[in-house]
Amino acid sequence: MVRRKPGELLALEVSLLEVAVGAHRLGNPEFHGFEAAKAIRDREGARTLTAHGTLYKALGRMEAAGLLESRWEDPQIAAVEGRPRRRLYRVTGAGELALTTTGATRTDDRAWRPRPGAAPA
């Protein structure tokens, strides 16, 4: 069991917030789980993608803490594109603040690429 101080962020949570803030800055604020895993891998030059359990547990925990919010996309969009529905996350004001507070923000947005077909907000 990981014990941490209130407000302290785990490394994965910082990475997810960086991805979320990077996406927001590029005018495409929503992202889905796999997109985040891929962005973290590209950004950090890792060889592997974040594990399923680790990724979705962290996303759920961060949503419960108010750092991210999510919605399920319109099923018609998914049906037209012939794929399962995506759960789309976006950073909240509290999430941006938490990232700033950690002092770990990397200001460049490298490795974040809008997904194919995604329109800027």
């Binding site: 592997t48 594990a51 359990g53 794929r83 759960r87």
Partner: protein
């Protein structure tokens, strides 16, 4: 189009650890994983990655996430259980370690067995035994708190089989022995806590 084998195994695991979770949370986790797998394959296809490499990557993500899946399940279920149920089911760190170790060894054995059966005709027999061992361990981890005698039996049988299949590796034999000891201790503790 038929779903790739690794997707079916991963989704079967998701169905397994989300069983008994409230509908909304359960359906959300299952849908999110289905979407993730689809996106993984689509991205790999666009990048020109081979099907085998994608399957290995998905298997690695699924396996590495097993401990987080189990702790998520425990936390989700724990928040919903009454104090009495929590006491009966409260096995502490030994129970949790037993579940994680059995599930990790079981997942490794099941996937390794499948890989051996599919990839190497000479190893098909050994692969089948490894696959069965993995499934026995996974079933044991699943049943240990629900039906302690059956769960304990399956874990012990699976751990012995695991040790015999990897008898030339000291580490795996030790892991099998540790799992047996942990399972016995965890099961005896949970029995003592059951109300009269």
């Amino acid at each position: 189009m038929r779903q790739p084998l690794i997707d079916r195994i991963t989704l079967a695991w998701v169905r397994s650890y989300t069983r008994g979770i409230p509908d909304q949370l359960r359906d959300a986790r299952r849908s999110e994983l289905e979407s993730d797998l689809w996106e993984h394959h689509a991205t790999a296809r666009r990048a020109g990655a081979g099907a085998n490499a994608t399957s290995i990557s998905i298997a690695a993500r699924a396996l590495a996430g097993v401990p987080a899946d189990l702790t998520w399940r425990r936390a989700t279920k724990g928040a919903l259980m009454s104090a009495q149920t929590t006491t009966v089911d409260g096995r502490g760190w030994i129970g949790m370690t037993t579940d994680i170790l059995a599930a990790t060894m079981g997942g490794f054995a099941a996937l390794g067995g499948l890989g051996a059966m599919i990839g190497d005709a000479d190893s098909a027999g050994w692969g089948a035994l490894l696959l069965v061992t993995g499934l026995v361990l996974l079933a044991g981890a699943y049943l240990r708190t629900r039906r302690p005698p059956a769960g304990l039996t399956l874990i012990v049988v699976g751990a012995i089989s695991w040790s015999l299949l990897f008898y030339w590796l000291v580490l795996t034999v030790v892991a099998g022995a540790v799992l047996v000891v942990l399972a016995v201790i965890a099961t005896s503790r949970s029995r003592r806590r059951e109300p009269a």
